[in-house]
């Protein structure tokens, strides 16, 4: 056999078939890296539950309005029995004080909550990757300055900064809330990615790539970044959960999304005055937030376990 034959590890599908019946457990199919990670993820039951919940939640929020045709903003004060009604077949989540159907509002609010959470994550990770990779790769005074910059932002407890930022800049639209939450997210991502780059830039593959003439920029984004992708993906997933919570806190205190947009957080704050008698107005959106964030956390941890290169192959 020549060298290219020897380098082939494992067997392809056609070669395996005849032997499967007798030696099923001894034969190891060649799997792509993505397939290996996927298999490991599937084996983690909690992560799969989380993923299923997430898919259901997305379907609920984005496909639901096409199936459940009541308008979430439809005010209905004519019939007093329709206001502050408990859960029923007509209104599975009940109605609020002006007769709006909470089921439809939960879908609409969920759309905004989920989109804000994910967009702010993407923006935060994007900026954080840029800054972190530059700081980690070049080191020296550039690293110092950029890290001082993140320190200034991290100087105070998070919510103090967020409240002041919202008071200063936010006009209540989802766009400004996304920007504000991303402003906090990038510091965390930048730290993380800087650490990864600091570790990875000393590895042999970087030296090898440099030897064949790769320039700095190419090294950073073509060689090092794909290797740092694992922790970035894990933290991105966990960050969505955190951002959804942050957005709901901001909205609850009145600093986040303003009417006419509504999110789960605003639903909780408007329902709060009725919590003595109609607690579902507060706790159903709360439950939705909780389940969504829990699912993101489970999926994130499942990804972390699936991507961990030191776990023995099972």
């Amino acid at each position: 056999m020549d060298i290219s034959e020897q380098l082939k590890v494992g067997l392809s599908e056609e070669e395996v078939e005849p032997f499967l019946a007798e030696t099923a457990d001894l034969v190891q199919r060649r799997r792509s890296q993505g397939r290996i990670i996927f298999d490991r993820f599937i084996r983690n039951r909690a992560a799969v539950v989380g993923a299923v919940f997430l898919i259901l939640m997305f379907l609920f929020c984005f496909v639901g309005p096409f199936l459940w045709r009541i308008d979430p903003n439809q005010i209905n004060v004519a019939n007093v029995n329709e206001t502050l009604a408990g859960p029923s077949w007509a209104h599975p989540f009940g109605t609020d004080d002006v007769g709006r159907d909470q089921f439809a509002r939960a879908m609409a609010g969920g759309q905004v909550s989920l989109i804000v959470g994910m967009l702010s994550m993407l923006l935060g990770i994007g900026i954080g990757t840029l800054i972190g990779s530059i700081a980690g790769f070049y080191g020296g005074w550039l690293d110092n300055i950029l890290m001082r910059l993140t320190d200034v932002v991290l100087c105070v407890p998070l919510y103090l900064l967020l409240f002041v930022l919202s008071a200063a800049f936010s006009d209540g639209s989802p766009r400004s809330v996304v920007l504000i939450i991303a402003f906090f997210s990038w510091t965390y991502a930048a730290r993380l990615i800087r650490g990864e780059f600091l570790a990875l830039r000393e590895r042999e593959f970087v030296m090898a790539a440099r030897t064949i003439g790769a320039k700095n920029l190419r090294l950073m984004f073509r060689h090092i970044l794909p290797n740092a992708a694992g922790p970035i993906i894990v933290n991105a997933t966990l960050l969505v959960g955190t951002n959804i919570i942050t957005e709901s806190v901001l909205s609850y205190f009145g600093f986040g999304i303003q009417p006419p947009n509504s999110t789960w957080g605003t639903m909780i704050s408007t329902g709060n005055e009725f919590v003595n008698t109609d607690a579902w107005l507060v706790f159903i959106p709360g439950l939705l937030i909780f389940i969504t964030v829990l699912s993101f956390n489970l999926v994130g941890d499942g990804l972390r376990d699936a991507l961990d290169p030191y776990m023995t192959e099972r």
């Binding site: 001082r148 320190d151 205190f253």
Partner: protein, 320 residues
């Protein structure tokens, strides 16, 4: 070590400067000013102008900043726009309440986190571990304000066991024992609400720490020497596993001057967090700036303390 500390303190000073400039700019970018919120709406334009001049609101921003900086460095943080009390007095009034809430929440969280973390770590893989990690998952997935509302609803509204807001019952004066009992009852719910996030985070941290430690060689040596399981746990495993946790606790304690804002807001607990929310609403610039600077000093200070603690507790760590 001493040189490291001095270098960190010297690095902290420009950081605080930068931070104060950053916050000053942000605060003045907030729409409306104190004259929109606090001033008597019936003031004549002349009187209004006089008030603004008195508070220095018409000077250009850099001048305002430099005036504030000069006074602050001399210890004078000015007077609140809202009620004309010296800012330092206001902060001194509010801080003990936050310290009481935050400190008790931290202590409570530490006890539970150590319990949960150690049990889960030692019994890794069993049902106990699975249950405890699930509980900590729930803890980090639940927004604090939701948990606080839930506690208020269950224990206050439905069961009527515990009061739902404030630090003590208004309008009554009790004897010493009943005052203590009254304040204690008021403290319970906010303390539990605030401690949830800490318990969840710290127990996960301690659990993985314990798992690491139990695999170490010195544990095997202790077992071979005949050290009993409990003694080995406390004297060898726990001591080593607690070191990273101590630094995390120190870091989290740094948020004392404002980290309880959400809990204080929901339970109307009269501390620094509530002061911050109120002065943010009222555009009370001196109080805002002073409480933000106080928070920053605490955060930076406890960051340094955490690093020092880590070096002190673990002799393998050496700083340049």
């Amino acid at each position: 070590m001493g040189r490291y500390v001095i270098r960190r303190i010297l690095q902290a000073i420009p950081l605080l400067f930068l931070f104060s400039i950053f916050m000053f700019i942000l605060i003045h970018l907030m729409p409306g000013g104190p004259d929109a919120v606090i001033f008597n709406p019936h003031l004549t334009p002349a009187a209004r102008a006089a008030m603004r001049a008195r508070f220095g609101l018409d000077d250009p921003l850099p001048i305002q900043y430099l005036k504030w900086l000069g006074d602050s460095l001399r210890g004078d943080f000015g007077f609140s726009f809202a009620n004309n009390l010296p800012v330092t007095t206001i902060l001194a009034q509010r801080f003990p309440a936050t310290l009481e809430l935050f400190g008790s929440a931290l202590a409570f969280a530490l006890i539970f986190a150590v319990l949960l973390g150690v049990i889960a770590g030692v019994r890794q893989g069993t049902i106990t571990d699975y249950t405890l990690t699930t509980i900590s998952y729930f803890g980090i997935s639940m927004p604090i304000f939701l948990f606080a509302l839930l506690l208020q609803y269950i224990f206050g509204v439905q069961l009527h066991w515990l009061p739902t807001s404030g630090m003590e019952t208004e309008g009554y004066t009790f004897d010493a024992f009943n005052t203590f009992l009254d304040r204690f009852l008021h403290l319970i719910l906010p303390m539990i609400a605030l401690s949830l996030l800490f318990i969840a985070g710290w127990s996960r941290y301690l659990r993985s720490s314990m798992i690491e430690v139990v695999k170490q060689d010195y544990m095997r040596t202790a077992h071979a020497k005949g050290v009993g399981p409990i003694a080995a746990l406390f004297r060898h495993a726990l001591r080593n596993a607690l070191i990273p946790l101590v630094t995390v606790v120190a870091l989290d304690f740094g948020s004392v001057a404002g980290g309880a804002t959400i809990t204080e807001g929901i339970f109307a607990w009269p501390g620094m967090g509530l002061l911050f929310l109120q002065s943010l609403e009222a555009r009370d610039y001196p109080v805002l700036l002073a409480s933000l600077m106080l928070s920053a000093v605490f955060v930076i200070g406890f960051n340094l303390i955490a690093d020092i603690l880590y070096a002190v507790l673990d002799p393998r760590i050496r700083y340049a």
